[in-house]
Amino acid sequence: MKFSEYLKDNIYKIIIYLICYSINLLIYLAFKVPKSVIISTLFTEIISLTLIFLIPYYRKKKFYNDLLLNIKALDKSYLVLETLNKPEFYEGKILYQALYDINKSMNENVKKIEKHFLDFKEYIEMWIHEVKIPLATLILISNNHRGLFAKKTKRELKRLENYVDEVLYYERSENAEKDYLIKEVNLSEVIKNVGLKNMDDLLENKIDFLVKDVNFHVLTDGKWLEFILGQIINNSIKYKKNIKNSYIKIYGEESLNKTTLIIEDNGIGIKKHDLNQVFDKTFTGDNGRVVNKSTGMGLFIAKNMCEKLGHKIHIESVYNEYTKVFITFAKNEYYDVIK
């Protein structure tokens, strides 16, 4: 609260006062009041005017200054009311009460939306579990009745399964709730599961799956990591080059304080101007337009999940040559000591 602004705001009071005092002065002169009386009344007038201005200014100043300052200082500025003392002056009381009521109503609204969101999340999780049962049945049926038809059906079912998983993990990774469990996991075990899951696709596309040096233990959620690697491998399959010796190489590197898993392919690569955006939501880029078969969510979800699990993920690529995805797992010394 600036004094100059406060003064400007109250300028009309001064003008009224001056006009009144001028009239008084004329009256004094008309009645020939002695000069000493005029001077002494002028003196008291000036004192009272000053006090009338300064007292309310200082009463309000503390409240408003605290309000403005705290709003700036808090990262959740809607909590500002909790930091203020209830003001003593009338306007302040009105403002305080109004803010309180607004806050309350907003909180109720947020609560309602939160509940709605949680209900929806619960429903989606349940729905995904339910939908997986007929999916499992269909896979069994197509397996029990072999033939070309079954093979095609199986492929489509797998696609369906991937999309369902995408929703599941999107929902889990976007959520503030802790939906993961971190424990020691062997990378080779995770890669085996991912390999098996994508075996049909890899074989059909004649992509060699080359795995070496992955016998490392890392701290992660195995199921989440499977999904993340699945997304990366799906991309490699989708964006492979039409050449004979397509491959996906997976290998690990260990240093003093971290383990890095590298997934490398010799696919069509990513153009430089797309490279910064591959982790963005619904980004498909030039490659996506060529292949035209992506939601653009896979890598976004993967990145989100990595952040939650505390892993670093980044991509290097040269267009038309290769793509390398690096996932870095930090080593936990504390955990090693306990072990």
């Binding site: 579990h129 049945t137 896979i139 599941l168 469990l181 424990k183």
Partner: protein
């Protein structure tokens, strides 16, 4: 013949699972009375149980805990809940494995086989005709002649033996190899099969692995 019990309330999946297991030489019992699940399981005394988590009356994890108080029958949890937490809990409660729906049917069969092998006396030597096949040393023996197989060939041959006189698809063979972290491609599988044929021929079994075009292989 091993008896497997299915604890699952979805009828369609029960039926298909039964078909799958029966065509792989297992006897199948389906749990009917969920209210008294534990006793019905014990009465049937199966060699292995496939247990779902979402079942009527009690949940599968609690049933597993009850069961473990009375019996050590191997249990594979088969569930659509794809969560590390539930897996960790199930293993803690005494499950032998945890598979999420939808699953690759071959993988399910492999896991069943692995657990049955582990819990019953594990035979590491099997015979095929006059051949003695040592699964630890990867060797085939007939009289004084001994031939060494590679790990790939060993896995392929043992699978063929356990499915003797039945068509085995390339898909199935691939699944076993990849399940053992041997990520080979189609060409390599063809090469492995022909090498295995060569080695069998050396020892006097020519043409025992027959190719059925578009279907797979049969070991006679």
């Amino acid at each position: 013949m091993y008896k497997i019990m299915i604890v699952e309330d979805d009828e369609a999946i029960c039926e298909e699972l039964k078909n799958l297991l029966e065509s792989n030489n297992y006897e199948v019992v389906i749990l009917k009375n969920f209210a008294d699940a534990c006793n019905e399981i014990l009465l049937n005394s199966p060699h292995l149980i496939l247990l779902d988590i979402n079942i009527p009356y009690i949940n599968g994890e609690i049933l597993l805990q009850d069961l473990r108080k009375k019996s050590d029958i191997p249990v594979i949890m088969v569930t659509s809940i794809n969560h590390e937490k539930d897996e960790a809990l199930s293993i803690l409660y005494g499950a032998d494995d945890y598979i999420t729906k939808p699953y690759n049917p071959y993988i399910l069969l492999l896991r069943i086989k692995a657990i049955l092998k582990r819990t019953t006396n594990n035979y590491l030597e099997i015979t095929y005709k006059e051949l003695k096949f040592d699964l630890r040393k990867y060797t085939l023996k007939k009289g004084n002649i001994e031939i060494i197989l590679t790990k790939n060939e060993m896995l392929i041959f043992s699978y063929l033996i356990s499915h003797q006189n039945k068509i085995v698809t390339r898909d199935e063979l691939m699944t076993i190899l990849w399940d053992n972290a041997l990520y080979i491609n189609e060409n390599a599988l063809t090469v492995n099969i022909s090498r295995l044929r060569g080695k069998l021929k050396e020892i006097g079994y020519d043409n025992v692995i027959i190719t059925r075009k578009g279907l797979g292989y049969i070991l006679t």
